[in-house]
């Protein structure tokens, strides 16, 4: 396959940035999107041009590093996958592909396609944990049976990889799906109950402070989320938030 790439290049956070056009050839359908980017970068290095910076690590859809906006969609045209799991068989010879970073005020660009998602970490610092000491003086794991359904729902909420596609997909750049996933994971477990009120208030406050937008329930986040994090989590967060506000 031969492809025409339109890639966002930006020197650093201060630079205005803009698109550059590159052609790549010899792309095979079995290659992943990031392997296609490797080919591009290899060509650029050989021509003495700085390669395109992009985040990636595991290349199997679990670390949440990769974060490309491809033809206007976070993680590209396929569903329920990350950028690194996108394969070139989804494209055809001669296609033009527009490649940008995820866009959101709370995710400033560091360079080219690399963004700063530390706002997500700070939301987690604010309450994304259960306050239990790691000393080992805990009770036997099976002394707290948990209904399978709750355990499974908690698990599904916890499979969020923190990639930020939900934010990039949302016209308000809201981080509700991400935040609600963490709140839900703990809200569904007895271990998380004690701090439930404090947790939801602190995490939502931090989310607002980071400059993410409001949630207007468009559901675009769910459509683009590689892990299919359910919108029910947002409803749960709202309930938790309401009850926390009433009681505090």
């Amino acid at each position: 396959m031969k492809l025409k790439l339109k890639v966002w290049r930006q020197e650093d956070a201060q630079d205005k940035g803009g698109f550059q056009n590159y052609d790549v050839d010899g792309i095979d359908g079995d290659m992943s999107f990031l392997e296609m980017m490797d080919v591009l970068n290899n060509n650029l290095v050989n021509e003495g041009i700085d390669p395109v910076e992009f985040d990636h690590d595991c290349r199997e859809g679990i670390c949440g590093s990769c974060s490309l906006q491809i033809n206007g969609e976070p993680h590209g045209p396929d569903r329920r996958i990350t950028t690194c799991q996108l394969h070139m068989r989804k494209f055809k010879d001669g296609d033009e592909i527009v490649i940008e970073p995820f866009r959101a005020t709370a995710f400033p660009v560091i360079k080219d396609l690399v963004i700063d998602r530390s706002a997500f970490d700070r939301i987690q610092h604010a309450g994304g944990y259960i306050s239990v000491n790691t000393s080992g003086n805990t009770q036997d794991a099976n002394s707290i049976p948990i209904e399978k359904q709750d355990a499974d729902d908690s698990f599904y909420a916890a499979t969020c990889i923190g990639c930020g596609a939900c934010v990039a997909a949302c016209k308000n750049a809201s981080a509700m799906l991400f935040t609600s996933a963490k709140v839900s994971q703990f809200a569904l477990l007895p271990q998380g109950e004690v701090e439930a009120h404090e947790r939801v208030i602190n995490m939502v406050n931090q989310m607002d402070a980071e400059g993410f937008g409001n949630c207007t329930n468009t559901g675009a986040c769910y459509v683009e989320c590689p892990k299919g994090i359910s919108l029910e989590n947002i409803a749960r967060l709202n309930r938790e938030y309401l009850s926390a506000s009433v009681f505090s």
């Binding site: 392997e35 390669p51 595991c58 199997e60 998380g192």
Partner: protein
């Protein structure tokens, strides 16, 4: 005379750890506030160590190269974590876990460490559940278990195919709690470039801010390296793209001995290589071997027809299939340990029975499992005479519930539906048992420099059993290191903050800067990947699943030549003062080019076959590994003396007092 002191406590094995904890020095809580600790790496080992050390009261700084601690490579672990809980009542115990691990490691690990690992394993599960880690549960609400290779009990706890993710997010949440309390400062997108020694003790690191390119000095009273494994020396592996040996190698060059570098695990169930431009390999969890049956065609002509695309695996009759693991190892069948399974796959493919276009693949088939589960499900839901379609439908649902995400992942990558046609798999580099030599306290041969998780030479001997790396990482980080480090730091309560203005920091910083400059001062002919791929090919061809004297010698020469070429001709683009992935890669590949040579040397000097290390010269008549306990029952710990090939060997003799040395048999 050996300079290695393993510091194994006296006494019976089941009392050693308790006794040791009672006897070592402690730092009182008020004094911990005056002590700083650097933790390099935020995977299971580093993340759990950092959280626990901070909770105990130390001031902790963590470092990772990713943009968040949550993305450390532990996140990718799929299958599960072992613990000797014996929840299934199938006869498990600390001793059995200990025994399985020592045997699985082909008797090349330290008994006392492994016993301690087994002893604290149950506590890990309690800890994680208390933290809110959502492990898989049964309908009764209790924790579920599965079974992994090389053992006869079900002791593996799991969270679908995302166990590593859930455990790491647990450790990350414990870290977040301490970050929120101001006890951990986390430096993300930072790479450790060197270790700084003051008066012979580890007192800090030089790090590069990967965003600004700034070279920074960080001091501490002790440094913990939890920087993961070095499987990427093979270029293609299941490790993350950024996984590297830099932190461990820099410490090695400053005096930390490197142990058993040639002990590498080649995992039997990975998706086969598909093309020249492939950048990494994907693991299919070992848990699949619980239900999948491994086979190749019994007749060469069938294998050839498959390779040419003229025959489909589903068209091959049952009697024309060779379930070679079940045939060779009736007792363990498809659940033999990884090294055995990998070698058996290679043996069949080398003999001409491999499938896939390349001939470098075998089948992993779920048809029998689908039928078995389907029948069971139909039966229990009252259909005593189900039709075939119903059985298949129910069976596929059952398999989906167990392995759904793995099947999906397979289909995304290969474009084939594993419910309908068998998966194709082939061995790939996965884990490194070798690493920095540590004593019972997890301290390296540099005072104050500790190593935890995959970065140390660890508890897995010459082969690691499935689901034991997660266990070891968390055991080191939550339960071992936070206590043993106190023994050393007790002497530091009056030292006061370590200054970064010393000559030692000055020199180390200068060395790091000079090295970066050297990378830019070359003729600039070939991209970094060119060297990494070449190195990977030498490693795979000559230091891979089977090794021999001639090729290992060649490998040493070829790697040396490649390294010299690298320093003359590598091309690093961009500037050192910005985010620059090429520069990051160049630094890592430079270290791999040194490690690779030591790796080959270690393999060359170990004249026996054990675990993942298979020397063609040392095998039994039926092709099994031939260990030499008389001459090689030791850990090889290498001291750096200028060039990787000149490294000096120190032997830690291994004593087996609680387990009888036997030929490992899974027949």
């Amino acid at each position: 005379m050996s300079v290695l002191e393993s510091k194994i406590p006296e006494g019976p094995i089941e009392k050693k750890w308790t006794k040791h904890k009672n006897e070592i020095n402690l730092v009182n809580p008020a004094n911990k506030r005056n002590i700083d600790i650097i933790v390099v790496g935020t995977g299971l080992a580093g993340g759990s160590a950092a959280a626990t050390l901070a909770e105990l009261g130390y001031n902790v700084k963590t470092f990772c190269y990713q943009d968040s601690p949550r993305r450390a490579h532990s996140i990718a672990a799929q299958g599960g974590i072992n613990a000797s809980k014996n929840y299934q009542g199938d006869g498990d115990s600390d001793y059995r876990l200990f025994y399985d691990t020592v045997k699985g490691g082909d008797y090349r690990s330290r008994e006392a460490n492994v016993y301690r690992l087994a002893e604290v394993s149950s506590n890990i599960i309690d800890q994680c559940v208390a933290q809110g880690v959502p492990f898989a549960r049964e309908y009764g609400g209790l924790l579920d278990n599965r079974s992994f290779g090389g053992v006869l009990v079900s002791r593996t706890f799991y969270a679908k195919g995302q166990t590593g993710q859930q455990l790491l997010l647990g450790a990350y949440s414990a870290m977040n709690r301490q970050i929120n309390r101001g006890k951990i400062q986390s430096f993300n997108r930072h790479e450790m470039m060197d270790l700084v020694l003051v008066d012979g003790k580890a007192r800090g690191i030089i790090a590069r801010d990967l965003v600004t390119g700034e070279i920074e000095r960080h001091s501490a009273h002790a440094v913990v390296l939890a920087s993961g494994g070095y499987g990427n020396v093979f270029y293609l592996s299941t490790n993350a793209m950024g996984s590297n040996v830099m932190a461990a190698w820099r410490a090695h060059k400053k005096g930390a001995f490197f142990a058993n570098p040639c002990f590498t695990q080649i995992h039997p169930t990975c998706i086969p290589v598909s093309g020249e431009l492939q950048s990494k390999l994907t693991l299919m969890s070992e848990s699949l071997r619980n239900d999948g049956r491994i086979w190749v065609p019994k007749h060469k002509k069938d294998a050839e027809a498959i390779r040419e695309g003229k025959l489909k695996p589903t068209e091959i009759a049952e009697e024309d299939r060779d379930y070679y693991l079940e045939r060779r190892y009736p007792a363990f069948g498809n659940l033999v340990p990884r090294d055995v399974a990998s070698r058996a796959a290679k043996e069949r493919c080398d003999a001409g029975y491999g499938v896939n276009k390349t001939g470098q693949a075998v089948y992993l088939d779920f048809k029998a499992a689908i039928e078995r589960y389907g029948k069971e499900k139909a039966f229990t839901s009252g259909h005593k005479n189900p039709i075939k379609e119903e059985i298949i439908k129910l069976g596929e649902e059952a398999v989906e519930a167990k392995y759904g995400n793995l099947f999906e992942m397979y289909e995304k990558i290969t474009d084939q539906n594993p419910y309908k046609t068998p998966m194709m798999i082939f061995p790939a580099v996965h884990y490194t048992m070798g690493g920095l030599w540590v004593d019972y306290n997890l301290m390296t041969t540099i005072p104050g420099c500790y190593a935890a998780g995959e970065a140390n030479f660890s508890d897995h001997g010459a082969n690691r059993l499935g689901a034991s790396a997660l266990m070891q990482g968390l055991a080191d980080g939550y339960f071992v290191l936070p206590y043993t480090i106190g023994d050393y730091l007790a002497a530091d309560i009056r030292t006061g903050a370590i200054s970064t203005e010393s000559e030692e920091f000055e020199t180390a910083e200068k060395e790091v800067k000079d090295r970066i400059q050297r990378l830019y001062n070359t003729n600039g002919k070939n991209p970094v990947d060119y060297y990494h791929k070449k190195l990977g090919k030498i490693m795979w061809d000559k230091c891979g699943m089977s090794r021999n004297e001639k090729e290992l010698k060649e490998a040493m020469e070829e790697i040396k030549a490649l390294r010299e070429d690298f320093w003359e001709n590598v091309r690093v683009t961009g500037k050192a003062e910005t985010k620059n992935a090429e520069l990051e890669k160049a630094g890592r590949v430079a270290d791999f080019l040194e490690l690779g040579e030591l790796f080959a040397k270690d393999a060359l000097e170990r004249n026996e076959s054990c675990g993942g290390h298979f020397r063609e010269e040392y095998q039994t008549e039926d092709g099994e590994a031939l260990r030499d306990d008389e001459n090689f029952r030791f850990v090889s710990a290498w001291e750096y003396v200028g060039n990787p090939r000149d490294a000096k060997l120190h032997k830690e003799q291994l004593e087996f007092e609680n387990i009888e040395l036997k030929t490992r048999s899974y027949k």
